[in-house]
Symmetry: C2
């Protein structure tokens, strides 16, 4: 099967490509080729036994999505988006990339596969940002989407379009709302949610990390490895099992910051935990207070999506996948 | 205050214009001018004490919405849409009018009022078609929107955009999900929901009406007069009372077809009821089975929106407003 990843240079796109190179298949179908697309040059995964092409471009530009789907990939992962903070600061850019880009993609697919017997599986990464406070302690599958960011709005609209195009038989979409990805590899960034990963990743690497909120803050996590698992399961699941409700909150793990730190202590010891410096930041605390913290994701669990069951497991995934098991 | 009605030639637009002409005000604000816009020439309401202009055009055409809001109306009623059946049959037309038209309008408002101290109140008519089966017996305010028509999808997207543009301070939007309007004046039409009105309107006018479903079918109704009341209340309500959740299911009345007929008997007698001919239609029954039938609209009731409390009242509104009280 031909696979296209939009957003192939991002953290998830890269990990997904590496996993495809390693597995050589999605479910029971062999990958015959992979195309990675992003605004910056994606990196080819090592060891792929199928041809890998990389492309760069501007997703919402005229004709761009037509070109991307002209070869009729069997599976399209649409991970391309600008992040929440940027979409909030630059209203036009957010709507252009995250909404117009997605709308163009859907219409290009509609045209390119008009006479195709089989429509492509389109896996769309949505976000828990489609939910906006106030919400119940655990957000159920049937809770309404009232985003409090433009990013969340753009994702919620993408979900609606994906479901309608699927219902009309124009494509075969599955939208998955990812938890916060933790432990996020790479450098600390300025995202308000960055500290959830920073306080684990940095101490494990021998560096100090700043904790801007109190230990009772609860949040919703899954590892990068689990997120790649969600994407692959979404790519191969029988669409009939989803019916018309094509968008799913993914399973995750709800833990408090205190529980994160306790897990780090168990896995890596007191010396590592001591590298966390508490520096309360009312601004970050205010933002985080409006975020979802726990979900009841019955549907995705029934449909076979699997997340970590303990935060120690999440830390061990990071140790295995990023640090070769070594703690500094 | 300057008022603009988009969709001013439709049934609701016309009734809203007539009411404005009669009242001369919205809440405590005097109407200083009224512009009616539609794809066909709207009718000017009789007796208005303020200037009324009528315009025709194609809402999503380039530059069209810029022209419409250039004079910076204080209140804009956006009722313009193609109906559910047509949007389902003509995918492109539905998305062009109902989605692109709305997106253009929002962006034109954003530009036209960029340096305005006060943003316009935009009243957007959404629909209970944003909900798709299966749903609970009574749909609560926080139930998710999983439309099963392109029309419902386009309305749900309009709601999300309205909320985001409002949150960003670009306009001051209120979206209202209207119940099925009953008794709908005019000729019987081919809409699958037409019979809910036909079985009341036609017998009252001395004509036979066909009932294609069984009497236990329940549905959600409000009169045209109540709907105009919703629009006016949405135009004048303090936005701060809504917070960030700008879209509301309107109150309505859940009755079975049997209860509709019983109310008709009480108001108009057996002779009129005898004009209803039962002719079961499995196709219509199938469509209707997927529709919402009852709602729990706590929020809109708390916010002061008022619907009828009995179906006899709904019939009497029709008698008063359309038939001068006369039963044939």
């Amino acid at each position: 099967m031909k696979v296209l990843i939009l957003g192939g240079a991002g953290m998830l796109g890269r990990k997904l490509a590496e996993r495809l190179a390693r597995d050589g298949r999605i479910g029971s179908n062999e990958v015959s080729s992979l195309t990675l697309y992003d605004v910056v040059e994606p990196q080819k995964p090592a060891g792929a036994k199928f041809p890998v092409a990389t492309l760069t471009g501007d997703l919402p530009a005229d004709g761009e999505t037509d070109k991307l789907v002209a070869s009729r990939p069997d599976v399209i992962f649409h991970l391309a988006a600008i992040v929440s903070g940027e979409a909030e600061q630059d209203f036009d850019k957010g709507y252009r990339i995250n909404l117009q880009g997605t709308m163009n993609l859907l219409d290009s697919i509609r045209r390119a596969y008009a006479d195709a017997q089989k429509k492509p599986r389109l896996v769309f990464t949505s976000s828990i940002a489609v939910f906006g406070a106030p919400f119940p302690e655990r957000i159920p599958d049937e809770f309404f989407t009232t985003p409090l960011t433009s990013y969340g709005t753009q994702k919620a609209i993408g979900e609606l379009l994906l479901a309608d195009y699927t219902r009309k038989g124009l494509l075969d979409g599955v939208g998955i709302r990812l938890p916060t990805i933790c432990v996020r590899p790479g450098k600390p960034n300025k995202a308000a949610s960055g500290f959830f990963s920073n306080i684990i990743r940095e101490p494990l690497a021998g560096h100090e990390a700043v904790l801007p909120v109190s230990e009772d803050v609860m949040h919703w996590h899954a590892s990068p490895r689990a997120a790649v698992g969600f994407l692959l399961h979404a790519a191969s699941i029988d669409g009939a099992r989803l019916g018309n409700r094509r968008n799913l909150s993914m399973p995750g793990l709800a833990v408090t910051v205190g529980e994160q730190i306790e897990a780090l202590r168990k896995v890596a010891g007191e010396k590592v935990v001591a590298r966390i410096r508490r520096e309360p930041d009312p601004f970050v605390q205010g933002i985080v207070a409006g975020w979802p913290r726990n979900f009841e994701t019955r549907r995705s669990i029934e449909l076979g999506f699997v997340a970590e069951r303990s935060f120690e497991d999440i830390i061990r995934v990071h140790l295995d996948d990023e640090l070769g098991g070594r703690i500094a």
